[in-house]
Each structure stands twice: as C-alpha cells, then as structure tokens.
Amino acid sequence: MSIPSRPRYSGLSPLTGNQHLLVADGAGGQAIVDMSRQVAPDWFAAAHIIYVVGDASPAFADMPQKLQELQARQWHESPTIASALPRIAKVLADAHMGMRLYLAGTEGLIGQVMQLALNSGMEHSSISTEHRGTLARRLQCVHCKGITEDVTTQPAQCAHCGLWLLVRDHYSRRIGAFQGVCIHAEEPLNIPSAVTSFL
C-alpha cells in the first residue's frame, strides 16, 4: 500500500493517434513486443522505436532484433538513457498533436523521458507506461539536491553529500526521482543498516 504520489504504471496499450513514439530500456522491450500482438501489422508503419540497451543483460541480447522485426518506420538503438535523450527531445519538438508516447522499462527511463515529454507540451495522464525490470530508484537528496541513480537499498547513501537517506515513496515527475530525507538527523550516529529493498 503506497501513497498517491508514488507513480503507478498501468501497462502499455495502444492509444488513438497518428504517430507513435515508443521508448524502452532492458526488459521494457518485451512490453513493446507484447503490445504488438494487440495491434494490426501496419500499426508500426506510423511508429518510431527507441531502445536503450543499457547494461545489456544476456537475457535481452535478442531484444533489438525482436524490436526491429516489428518494422517500425524509424528505429534507433542507444547504449544508455542519457545518450537517447537528445534524440527524443528533437522528435518531440517536431511532433504534432496526435503523436502518442509509450514508455516501458525501468522507472529511471520512464521518469527521465517523461520529463522531456512534459516540457514539450504533453500531459502525463495521456502517456502509456509500463514498468519492467529492476525497481531500482532515482533518488533526489532533499538536502543537497543531488540525484543518486540505481538506488536499491533502504536506507541509501547520497552519492553527492554522503548523508544516509530514507528512501521515500514520495515522487516528483518534474524532477523524475523519489525523495530522500536524512534518516539519521535526530541521532547522527544511529544509521540503520542498509537492506536491499528495490530490486
């Protein structure tokens, strides 16, 4: 049972539109493949797929090929999320109303591409999202404002200022991260052991 600001991803489903931009990382590619069974074969003629390989797990070695078989009008493979963002920003800048966005994979990918989408004039409630893969979180330290990537423990140490942070479920779309608050502020020497919690 989580809190209302914790994002929920309802799963990829085809949206009404005339252009479709699909962005996925890691296991998220499979969500696109799964959705392809719900649409007519020519649906992808209006689609642009961007796939982030990331820390390519052998389990997804064949993902690029599976996605290319969908024969989208445009296809691109990026090594990391960061390297994919400029291309995504440009596609969104050129887009018209009727372009629909689909994000699948880690929360980090979804959150960062969502930020670009919001800045380009889209609304989060009309973007289709599906979480696949690790539950590791992006965490913003409320004290130093630094963002720590791939947080899997509770508590977690801020990679910028070194404070140990309670990893909250409170999430900001604008920042694309969960909130981290110092867990040992009242008793500085009392730091609970880090337990793996978000895998």
Binding site: V142, H143, S172, V181, A185, E186
Partner: protein, 349 residues
C-alpha cells in the same frame, strides 16, 4: 477597528531564539481545538473578517512579529533561493496576488501601508519595512523581483499559488520559508492529491476529495479558511526538510525540566482565495507560534491540550514529528488537568 497599537518586536527564529508573545498576542492566539480530541476533518469555513481583536479581523493579519519574520524570511532566501519558485505560466497569478495583498493591506492597515494607483502606475509604501516602490502593474522589469516574490517578501506566512486545470489544483508557484517539513522544490508541479500524499490516514477518509471539490468552486470575493497544527522545538521558522539535519537534533534535547520552555504549538491559518485574472487559487499558510508556558496561561487551553495530546493516534503524532517528546508534554500538561468539562470552541473561555 482594532484599538491595539502594534509594537514590532526584534526577534530571532534561529540560533539564539529571542521570541515571545505579548499578552495581546497570547489572548488572540488561534488555538485550533474546539473539543477535547483531534482528528482530520474538512474543516473549511468562510474566511469572514471583522471579529474585532481576533486574527480574523483583517484579511491578512499583521502582528507584532511582522518585521522580525520578514527579516528571517530574507535570511532563509539568502541561504536557499529554491524556497521561492514560480513556474513560467504563473506570472499572471503573481500579479493577481500582488494586487490582492497590496489592496487589502492598504485598506486594513492605513497607518502601516499605502497604495497609490494611477492607471497602471502604482506606488506602494510599506512603513514597517521602510519600503517605497513605484512600478508599472504587469511589467516585471519595474520590480526588483517577480511579483509573487516581491509581495510575499513583505507578507507573513507561506504562500502557495495553485493553478486550476483539469478539475484539479496544481502547486505551480510558492514562497515557502516557514513550512512544517515539506519541500517546495520537490513538490512544485504536483497536484492536490500528490502533494498531500505523505499525510497518513486522511486519504482513506476521503478528506482530500471533498476538500478539492469545495476549493475548485471558490469564487472571487468569497475566500475560505481552516486551521492546521503541529509542534516545533524552539520558535524556529525554518523547519524545512532541506535543513532537517540542522533542526532535527533539537528534538533530542527536550527534557522534563525544559519541555514547557522548548516546545511550541505551531498553528497554521490556511486560507484560499480565488485570483481574478489567472483564475488560480492562492493558499496562504500563516504560522503562529506559542510556547507551552504561554499557552497554559489559559486554563481551558491547558486542560484541552493535555487531552488532545494524550489521546492523539500514534500515526498522527509520528507524522507531525513529536511522538518522541509526546510523553514529556503530556506529563507536564497533566498538572493543569483537573478533569473538569471544557467549553466547546477554541476560545480561551
């Protein structure tokens, strides 16, 4: 018209904590409990003004702490500019807010504030802060700050400016330096349910759905208000999450001997005003602090507060951050509680 003449005090809300309430300030304190127990409610009511001597007499109450509080705000902003932010589409709402505060203050406290308007050429005089500013209404280049920041640097309490769209309210601008432990920088851009997400229990009670429906319908000229409360150690204004490592340890310094001196009841007068040109809603959160020692000078408050704290659900005390010291407070307050009946309503009698 209140006969009380305001004497602005030289106070600090950090470091040496030089702060106290005069008898006048104590007697008008917005004690938030109208009965001997507390639970969340949509306790919104019309923000009717006029009750002489009360904090509700004027639209935006100015008290003896005004000058000191504005100095404290300026210090907080020097340390952390992220406490005041306005997303680009909220500038029009900022002008609405500037007009609202200036016109009401000039009307309600003519001995302290003046507003002279000649078309769009305005001149604002703030005597307590020694400010005189000529500017063109609507032209940001003629003010030293954006309109929201400009006027809220001169207005007690926090200010959240909410964009109204898609049947929801969005916290898209704010001046937040006296908050009870939430971050504007993190929450800016969130909607009504999202920024309230961390509040325990209230969502299940449907509090926020009902409150939102009411707030969305507030028209111009009919503001509403409610009270909220928590506890703070020392009369500290900056209890932001950003600075939690600085003020958090204070909670561990409270003892049976100093509890009445260190613990402050912190009451927020929240109000909601429709802004005319932007159709936004402004949500001022005005913070009033009273030391436990000061509070018990009214026997009814002492008894009632003892009972409220004693019986409060643990989740609320934890969320409000004082569970650690609750037993100490309840113990100290118990000496004032003879078990007698207390009258309904929050007034001292």
């Amino acid at each position: 018209m209140s006969q009380h003449v305001l004497q602005f005090k030289e106070e600090t809300f950090r470091d040496d904590f030089v702060y106290s309430n005069s008898r006048w300030a104590i007697d008008r304190f917005p004690f938030p409990f109208d009965k001997d127990s507390y639970m969340y409610a949509v306790n919104l009511e019309p923000h009717t003004t006029g009750r002489a001597g009360s904090i509700y007499e004027k639209s935006f109450d100015v008290d003896e702490h005004y000058v000191a509080e504005m100095r404290e705000r300026a210090l907080t902003l020097l340390e952390d500019p992220l406490r005041c932010q306005s997303l680009p589409h909220m500038t029009l709402a900022g002008w609405d807010l500037l007009e609202l505060i200036m016109t009401h203050k000039a009307r309600d406290y003519p001995e302290l504030f003046e507003l002279h308007r000649d078309g769009l050429q305005w001149r604002w005089v703030n005597k307590p802060l020694g400010i005189e500013q000529s500017f063109i209404f609507g032209d940001e280049a003629t003010l030293p700050y954006g309109p929201m920041e400009y006027i809220t640097r001169q207005s007690q309490g926090d200010w959240c400016v909410l964009d109204q769209r898609d049947a929801n309210l969005w916290m898209d601008a704010g001046m937040v330096t006296t908050q009870a432990d939430w971050s504007l920088d993190f929450d800016i851009g969130m909607n009504f349910f999202e920024w309230h997400a961390p509040v325990p229990l209230a969502h299940e009670l449907g509090i926020f759905q009902r409150a939102l429906k009411f707030l969305l319908a507030i028209p111009q000229g009919a503001p509403a208000r409610r009270l909220n409360w928590t506890m703070t150690v020392h009369p500290r204004h900056d209890t932001s999450p950003e600075n939690y490592p600085k003020w958090g340890p204070d909670r561990t310094t409270v003892t049976a001997e100093n509890v009445a001196e260190l613990m402050y009841l912190r009451v927020e007068l929240q109000s909601f005003w429709r802004l005319p040109r932007s159709n936004a809603l402004v949500f001022p959160i005005r913070c009033y602090l009273i030391q436990l020692n000061e509070l018990v000078s009214h026997p009814k408050w002492a008894k009632r507060f003892h009972r409220v704290l004693r019986d409060l659900p643990k989740e609320l005390a934890e969320y409000k951050g004082f569970e650690r010291n609750r037993a100490l407070m309840v113990q100290w307050l118990s000496q004032f509680d003879d078990g007698a009946l207390t009258s309904p309503g929050g007034g001292p009698n």
